[in-house]
């Protein structure tokens, strides 16, 4: 039984070696030069693809980094806008007629009513 198994294995291996030899002979017949350049071209394509893929990854990483910067700046812009809105409101409160009348009273500014703003012509 074991002997048969050994013989069978040997037979398969010798067949594989023969097939490899035949392929080698075929390649030699068809021209090794062409195959060499084909191989080089294939490697070049692989290299280029790898390069472009890496560039793509780099571009994506950069875009993410820029995205974070944009988000940060937008946050700052938002805060500044909020501050502007609050300050505009405070200006409006302080310049409202009621506030001015009160300020005129409190600080005795002696501001004139509208009808006395213009000098009368004789």
């Amino acid at each position: 039984m074991e002997k048969n198994l050994f013989q069978n294995t040997q037979r398969v291996l010798s067949k594989a070696a023969k097939t490899c030899r035949n392929i080698g002979e075929d390649i030699a017949k068809k021209g090794g030069f062409k195959i060499f350049w084909g191989y080089i071209l294939f490697m070049l394509l692989i290299g280029l693809s790898a390069f472009f893929l890496m560039a793509l990854v780099q571009a994506k990483v950069t875009s993410f980094q820029l995205g974070y910067q944009i988000a940060k700046l937008e946050k700052q812009k938002e805060l500044l806008l909020e501050e502007i809105y609050t300050l505009q409101y405070e200006i409006a409160v302080l310049t409202s007629p009621q506030s001015l009348i009160q300020a005129n009273k409190n600080w005795e500014l002696e501001l004139l009513p509208p009808e006395e703003w213009i000098e009368e012509k004789p």
Binding site: M1, S63, F64, L66, G67, Y68, A71, E82, Y85, T86, Q88, Y89, A92, V93, T95, S96, P97, Q98, P113, P114, E115, E116, W117, I118, E120
Partner: protein, 572 residues
């Protein structure tokens, strides 16, 4: 001992069994994979999406409301609101003790919020300032957080409150311009999907390709109101109400050339920043929402119409029956003083009921009603404010003899104070009726400006001669007639008084409750401003010439000088 063939047979059977077992397992896995990847694809996709992404709403800023000079009358400012998740709070009393002084709430009042049995989101206090929010954050109480919100604020307090209206907590317009221009003011909220990591760490993962929509801020509404003039009008109105302990009052100030509303006030008023603490009745804009029988201010309109129809001239003499006249069967008219023959001009100067009614009767129901319709009585003016009343004007075919003898005196016809003021503009201006307007322009965030103010519906009612004569005679009303208290130095005012009895609970005219009105314009030869003041149920005095004429005079005087100073400032 088993023979080799039996052993081989058993091995073959076992191998076959294991083979099928493996095949079955692979088929099961493929089946399960198909189940998950194909049949339940959407469910798991959604679960994964919810785990990885947060939907963040970006609120649009509500547009501002500004006056004609670009002064902010209503705006939105960022504030912070504090809320809690009661289930996450471990030490309720500790949290209440810390929060109580910051939120200015008693501990006992805070505890029920912090221990709410059903809800997982409970507002503790809204619209806090930034410092308070930072303090609350610094406590690091689990389950207590603050979020940013915007709050609608009105920097001038009560000023123009009836025009501006107010918004609810969610910034939805409920009254005034806020309600009428809700769509324009509110804008469109945006959104952004944010990637999150396993611990929801901040900053979240930024993905430039994540779906987002930028918010579109609301449009700014520029009113025709001038905040200084509005302030002048409100002060004068307040003084009149205090002096005569009146129930209420309202005033309208119009640009005589364009019919733009420069000021519109109503008393009692309210502070839109805190409108809930004022009675609902104060929210009503009496100048547009209530229609009144405004009495003698109707007389100049009747006379002007008769002049236009060439039925009378200013010198035509009319017998006024010495103060009492049975004008139609069952109807006796009275004047406050007895007059014999009066010219048409004198009828206006002395405000004779009998004389004006006779002119009205001479015109007839059809013609008089036609002129009143041209002046827009019985129809809404179309002012850009909610809740406007059209007033009451019966169609000509429904007029009785009683109507014909009532309308010339300002009875059986109801008008809002705004309608009445606008009806004087053809006399004060170029004879053309222009509908009053309160919105000058709407400016969208992309700077596309939509001018709202247009007056396509203009009608020439009176000729130049009629206008000139009416202006002169209304000036005489102030100089020699019923409105002498409006005769002040520096500004030549023309106008007409009105005193109307209010209806009592029985449906008859009251002898205690009056409405005092004065409509005036200035300078009388080339009017730029037209003002109306109506005082409701004044005490002590009730004649329009006593109660309402002085505030109108003060308003016109101050506003004309204010306008001149503006012209001088910007065109030295």
């Amino acid at each position: 001992m088993k023979s080799l063939s039996v052993y081989q047979n058993e091995m073959a059977q076992r191998s076959l069994g294991i083979f099928f077992l493996i095949i079955f397992a692979i088929l099961f896995l493929i089946g399960r994979l198909f189940w998950i990847q194909v049949l339940e694809h959407e469910k798991y996709k959604q679960q994964a999406f919810q785990q990885h992404w947060i939907h963040k709403e970006i609120p649009a800023k509500r547009g501002d409301i500004l006056d004609r000079n670009g002064i902010i009358l209503a705006t939105s400012i960022p504030t912070y609101s504090c809320y809690c998740d009661p289930k996450m709070i471990k030490d309720v009393h500790g949290a209440a003790k810390k929060l109580s002084p910051v939120l200015e709430m008693e501990e006992d009042k805070l505890v029920p919020f912090l221990t709410h049995p059903k809800r997982r989101f409970v507002w503790l206090k809204r619209f806090l300032d930034k410092e308070t929010s930072q303090k609350i954050q610094s406590f690091k109480i689990a389950g207590v957080q603050t979020i940013k919100e915007t709050k609608r604020v009105y920097p001038h307090g009560k000023l123009a409150s009836h025009v501006l209206g107010f918004t609810g907590n969610e910034e939805n317009g409920l009254e005034g311009v806020e309600a009428n221009f809700q769509a324009e003011l509110s804008g469109e909220n945006g959104f952004q999907w944010e990637l999150k990591d396993g611990r929801l760490a901040k900053p979240k993962i930024y993905d430039p390709y994540s779906p987002m929509k930028k918010p579109v801020n609301g449009a700014d509404i520029y009113l025709t109101i001038d905040h200084i003039m509005q302030s002048i009008v409100e002060k004068e109105l307040q003084d009149a109400v205090s002096r005569y302990e009146a129930k209420g009052a309202c005033a309208v100030l119009l640009d005589a050339k364009t019919a733009q509303i420069l000021a519109l006030a109503s008393l009692p008023d309210f502070d839109p920043n805190d409108f809930r603490s004022f009675p609902r009745s104060t929210w009503k804009n009496k100048a547009i929402a209530d229609a009144y029988e405004l009495g003698s201010v109707m007389k100049p309109l009747v006379v002007a119409s008769a002049l236009s129809e060439k039925l009378v001239s200013m010198d035509t003499t009319i017998f006024c029956h010495h103060g009492s006249c049975k004008i139609i069967p069952g109807r006796t008219l009275r004047d406050t003083h007895g007059y014999g023959d009066l010219t048409v001009a004198e009828i206006l100067i002395k405000s004779s009921n009998i004389g004006t009614t006779k002119i009205g009767m001479q015109m007839g129901a059809k013609t008089l009603c036609h002129y009143l319709e041209l002046l827009n009585f019985g129809k809404k003016t179309g002012v850009e404010l909610p809740g406007e009343s059209p007033g009451i004007l019966k169609p000509a075919h429904k007029w009785t003899n009683f109507t014909l003898t009532s309308v010339p005196m300002g009875h059986e016809i109801c008008a809002t104070p705004l309608q009445m003021a606008a009806s004087y503009l053809p006399i004060a201006g170029d004879g053309i009726y222009r509908p009053p307007s309160i919105v000058e322009k709407v400016v969208y965030p992309d700077s596309k400006t939509l001018h709202r103010y247009q007056s396509p519906d203009i009608k020439k009612i009176y000729s130049g001669q009629t206008i000139k004569e009416m202006q002169q005679v209304l000036r005489l009303v102030v100089e020699k007639g019923t409105a002498q208290k409006a005769n002040i130095k520096k500004v030549e005012i023309a106008g007409k008084t009105g005193t109307a009895q209010k209806l009592d609970s029985t449906g008859g005219y009251s002898h205690e409750h009056y409405i005092s009105v004065f409509v005036g314009f200035a300078p009388y030869k080339n009017p730029t401003l037209c003002a109306l003041v109506m005082v409701d149920e004044p005490k002590g005095a009730y004649y329009g010439g006593t109660v309402s004429a002085p505030p109108v005079a003060n308003i016109l005087k101050q506003c004309i000088f204010y306008e001149k100073s503006l012209i001088k400032k910007y065109n030295p």
